[in-house]
């Protein structure tokens, strides 16, 4: 199924004198730093300190000119004197071992450099499946899982909604990270994916290494625009139902082992936003939603309404019939939108009322609001992460702390969550807890530069000569690990404080 692009020429850059490279399973490459093998992993020897990366995170590693075997006792020394060395459980001639290692190193080097070269869009991979044509820049095994997922989604959706297979396959462009997605796809900052509904139609999205589940969620959402477009290619679903339905499918779950997807889960990130609105004293009117007047809230409140409709047996079939009618029924008044047709607010309300068999929206609105409060819950790790970040963003630190704690108890390994939680603890004057949390975060992702930056600030806040020296080292280490990210908020704050005052000189044992 996978095939390299025809005539692909990989522009491999000339390697420097010693070019150690670490390829991580999440798609990152680390280079420009000396690497040594350590017990159970690799030691990255930065100028400002050693960073240990466990083997479990590593996909491949190239260490040029690795040291040979060092005998540990007389017996081993005697064998070494005879020109033998241990290799894969046997003692073999050194020249044979060296040749085998050299061959493997060359293969490894080629493999890593090819993977790196494919990160450039001009060297992208291409592949085809039954319903999609893929162009992508990340590792093929990740794309293969995605391909299976998308094919399953296509089958499940088209069967449920009675959609015929289109003549042409959809082009899917899949990028290895967000930066690359923004650059090549032309999407604006803040956009996570898009479906281009005019010719040449295509779907563009990226791989979120910190949360691969999120990648799938974004794909489920965006591909839904394509799948609903297949209902009637001349028709464009209005924003309110289009985005809300995409969010409903965006919450689907994928089991890569069984190759099965399940629909109708809770979009906890969106739910968090709805609950935050309710907490702030705001609710949305059903009339406004159906009239296509909510804008962004179609993703949040709109999703909750579609969830309510699709998951409530007495409404589910009628709502599906309403949705299909917008695109297909002859009695629906459609208007020209410049590229095809769409339906305007008043007509959506009319068709909705007709298919749902209601004349007054008020009782349904009441039922919907009640459904949000009683049936929809935040209860997974990602849900708590989102809830914590939303609470933090709205200035509710205590509430955020409660959710951060729950997210970590549920198994969060996201360094951004650890960092945000640590900042929260520092704000709450709990530097010792913050430091412990950051150190744990660093063991989970030793190359998350932001964690070192925040740790530097935490230590500086505690004061004491040794801690200040360590803080300085960690700040520099953060910059060394991620030299492109020079504006870590913590570093700016620290520099700002330093310009205006002396560091806190608390007793060394405080915290």
């Amino acid at each position: 199924m996978r095939a390299a692009a025809a005539g692909l020429v990989l522009a491999l850059t000339a390697a420097p004198a010693r070019a150690d490279i670490l390829a991580l399973k999440d798609g990152r490459f680390v280079e420009g730093v000396k690497i040594d093998r350590g017990e159970g992993g690799y030691k990255l020897l930065y100028k400002n300190g050693e960073v240990f990366v466990p083997e479990t995170l590593v996909k491949d590693c190239l260490i040029e000119g690795e040291k040979g075997f060092e005998p540990r006792n007389d017996e081993e020394r005697a064998r070494v004197d005879k020109g033998l060395v241990p290799f894969e459980g046997k003692w073999v001639a050194k020249s044979a071992r060296d040749a085998a290692i050299a061959k493997r190193q060359a293969e490894r080097k080629k493999r890593i450099e090819e993977a790196k070269a494919h990160r450039e869009w001009r060297n992208r991979y291409t592949a085809e499946s039954a319903n999609f044509k893929f162009e992508y820049t990340l590792d093929p095994e990740i794309q293969e899982d995605l391909r299976d997922l998308m094919e399953t989604y296509f089958k499940v959706f088209t069967q449920k909604w009675g959609i015929a297979r289109p003549k042409e396959k959809l082009k899917v462009c899949f990028y290895h990270d967000y930066d690359s997605f923004l650059q090549v796809s032309g999407a604006g900052h803040g956009v996570l994916a898009y479906y281009r509904f005019v010719q040449p139609i295509e779907l563009d999205f990226f791989y979120e290494r910190l949360d691969p589940g999120y990648t799938a969620a974004v794909m489920f959402h965006e591909a839904n625009h394509y799948l609903t477009h297949l209902i009637n290619f001349e028709f464009h679903y209005p924003h309110n139902v289009n985005e809300a339905m995409a969010e409903y499918y965006g919450a689907s779950q994928w089991d890569p082992r069984k190759k099965e997807m399940s629909v109708g889960q809770v979009q906890e990130g969106r739910l968090t936003e709805v609950l935050t609105d309710i907490q702030g004293g705001e609710t949305k009117k059903l009339e406004d939603y159906l009239s296509n007047r909510l804008g962004y809230d179609d993703y949040t409140w709109g999703w909750s309404f579609v969830h309510f409709m699709m998951e409530t047996p007495k409404y589910s079939k009628r709502f599906q019939s309403f949705f299909l009618a917008l695109g297909r029924d002859k009695d629906v008044k459609r208007v020209d939108d410049g590229r095809g047709t769409t339906v305007e607010g008043d007509e959506i309300v009319r068709v909705f009322k007709k298919h749902l068999g209601v004349t007054d929206l008020a009782p349904l609105e009441k039922e919907w609001h009640e459904y949000i409060k009683t049936k929809l819950k935040v209860e997974t790790q990602r849900g708590y992460e989102r809830a914590a970040i939303a609470a933090q963003r709205t200035g509710q630190s205590i509430r955020a702390r409660r959710f951060f704690k729950l997210a970590i108890e549920k198994g969060s390994t996201n360094p951004q969550v650890y960092r945000a939680y640590a900042r929260n603890l520092l704000y709450d004057d709990k530097p010792a807890e913050a430091i412990e949390l950051l150190r744990k975060g660093i063991t989970l992702d030793p190359l998350a530069a932001g964690l070192y930056a925040t740790l530097a600030v935490a230590l500086r806040g505690q004061g004491g000569t040794e801690r200040l020296a360590e803080a300085k080292r960690l700040k520099e280490l953060a910059r060394e690990i991620d030299p492109e990210n020079l504006d870590f908020e913590e570093i700016v704050i620290e520099m700002t404080e330093a310009a205006g005052s002396k560091p806190t000189s608390r007793p060394k044992d405080k915290g």
Partner: protein
């Protein structure tokens, strides 16, 4: 004040001959480089806040895409300078002002041409080819760039020349449809790039500090006189840079409130100046009561056409336009009729910012929207400004009325931006309501209603600012989630609360009958 500045401008104009001339040879002795430019291309002036682009030219004609309807693009060339001293200094720079604030400035946002492209490209792109070359003994990297997604397909070539203390990227860009035809000439020009003896410094532009516009808008923190003096000094700097960077062939005009730099003809230039002056006169006559600030002069730049206007605005992304003293117009040769919209809005915004920054940056949603709508469409005749609805606006309003979608005055006054968005053609409706307040209500209770409303609004904003400052000094951290939630709720409702406060102050004593009469008057006015 204006007269003194005029002398400065005249002196500056004589002192600095422009580096950018009509096409042929581009020679910059200050920065020490020269190269040929395609025949008949014209130089585009560089904005005063532009730090990276040191030369910009566009073709003499816009090309239309052969595949996409209404997708034009004018081939362009720009030279972008990356001084090593400046680009190596990245990240935050923190300075503590003695007895003042601590300033954080982020230094160079670009490390090289590729990082520049990433932040400044329009549409999705990728580097299709990259190879080394040598031109006139200068080492260079040739990059071929394709813009393919979410944009009209374009092609670009950029050669990055490596100097001793800087990199010089020369970037040519055109529609993909015409690339094969144009590329050979671009390559020919690129091959003529060479260094010449340098009189100035490569770091002079990119190493410049941003002008401190913010401090002149801090009402209540500095006196009116201090703000005016600071503004005059900033304006002088901006004006000097504008003069320095003016290409050959542009004319200069001076009117009471504007320094005009025009690439348009004399007649059009005079018309734009008349329009801008008429608007200032109208604002002075009708709105002087909004504040005690002193409106200062501004630069009025008039481009030859839309393409030149677009190219002028297409600056590096760190250039600041929002708070500069420049208004940019163009001669509408295509007959779209949009030429004056931006001028009116920009003139009004500058005037309000000088007069009362609190109002300029914090108008209630309906008023902000209404002012944009009204000023945007105004025009001047015989030195007097007129606010007329055009045909499209009249038709849109007719449809709003016909569909029963005209929002009441009460709804508009209390709406936040979120609610405004839900009203059909809210922009027009806000403009209509503003016209009504200016010209409509005549009863005793509604006499001078607009003035009373704005004054009450400004008083409330000031009270709130003071209250917030006082609360900030005393405020303790919330101790429970409930306390946090209450505070969050209060913040969420702030715009609403502010609107309610103004509403109460002005309309608190109105009876339902007063409201009914007012709304009736508005509905009649709308008819």
């Amino acid at each position: 004040m204006f007269q003194d500045l005029a002398v400065v401008v005249a002196a500056l104009a004589a002192a600095f001959p422009p580096a950018q001339a009509g096409a042929g040879l581009h020679k910059d002795e200050e920065l020490g480089f020269q190269m040929e430019v395609p025949k008949d291309w014209r130089a585009v002036p560089l904005a005063a806040s532009e730090k990276w682009v040191v030369a910009k030219y566009i073709s003499n004609r816009e090309l239309q895409s052969k595949k996409e309807w209404w997708s034009g693009h004018t081939p362009e060339m720009r030279v972008i300078l990356f001084p090593t001293e400046v680009t190596k200094e990245r990240g935050p720079k923190v300075t503590k002002v003695k007895d003042g604030p601590t300033l954080v400035k982020f230094r160079s946002p670009f490390s090289d041409y590729k990082s520049y492209l990433k932040q400044n490209a329009e549409g999705g792109y990728y580097v299709a080819k990259e190879e080394p070359t040598t031109v006139n003994n200068i080492e260079a990297t040739c990059l071929e760039i394709r813009f393919e997604k979410l944009t009209v397909p374009r092609h670009a070539v950029a050669w990055v020349f490596k100097g001793e203390d800087a990199e010089w990227a020369v970037h040519f860009e055109a529609l993909e449809d015409y690339w094969e035809k144009l590329a050979p000439d671009f390559t020919r020009c690129l091959r003529t790039f060479k260094f010449i003896p340098r009189k100035g410094s490569v770091t002079a532009r990119a190493g410049d500090n941003d002008l401190d516009f913010d401090s002149i808008f801090e009402v209540g923190k500095t006196s009116i006189a201090e703000r005016a003096t600071k503004r005059a000094a900033l304006f002088e700097r901006e004006l000097q840079t504008a003069v320095d960077r003016l290409p050959a062939g542009w004319i200069r005009k001076k009117s009471p409130h504007f320094y005009a730099f025009s690439h348009s003809d004399e007649r059009h230039t005079a018309r734009v100046l008349e329009q801008a002056e008429a608007l200032v006169a109208w604002l002075t006559q009708n709105f002087s009561w909004v504040g005690d600030g002193l409106p200062g002069p501004a630069i009025l730049r008039i481009c030859k056409g839309w393409e030149e206007f677009r190219a002028f605005h297409d600056t590096s992304n760190d250039a600041m336009f929002v708070r500069s003293f420049e208004v940019v117009a163009y001669k509408d040769t295509e007959g779209y009729g949009f030429g004056s919209w931006g001028v009116n809005g920009a003139v009004a915004n500058l005037w309000f910012a000088d007069k009362n920054p609190r109002l300029r940056w914090g108008m209630p949603p309906w008023l902000n929207t209404g002012i944009s709508a009204i000023f945007g469409g105004s025009s001047a005749k015989g030195g007097k400004v007129e606010f007329k609805l055009d045909e499209w606006e009249r038709e849109a309003l007719r449809q709003i009325r016909q569909k029963g979608k005209l929002v009441t005055a009460r709804q508009l006054l209390g709406a936040d931006y979120d609610e405004l968005r839900k009203f059909e053609n809210s922009w027009l409706q806000c403009g209509l309501f503003l016209r009504y307040l200016w010209t409509g209500p005549k009863s005793a209770s509604t006499k001078d209603l607009f003035k009373k409303y704005v004054q009450a609004y400004l008083a409330v904003v000031e009270e709130e600012e003071k209250a917030e400052e006082a609360a900030g000094k005393k405020e303790n951290k919330p101790k429970t989630e409930e306390e946090e939630e209450a505070r969050f709720k209060a913040r969420r409702q702030e715009t609403k609360r502010q609107a309610d406060k103004v509403f109460q102050r002005i309309f608190g004593s109105w009876s339902e009958a007063d409201w009914a009469a007012f709304e009736r008057g508005y509905a009649d006015f709308a008819d």
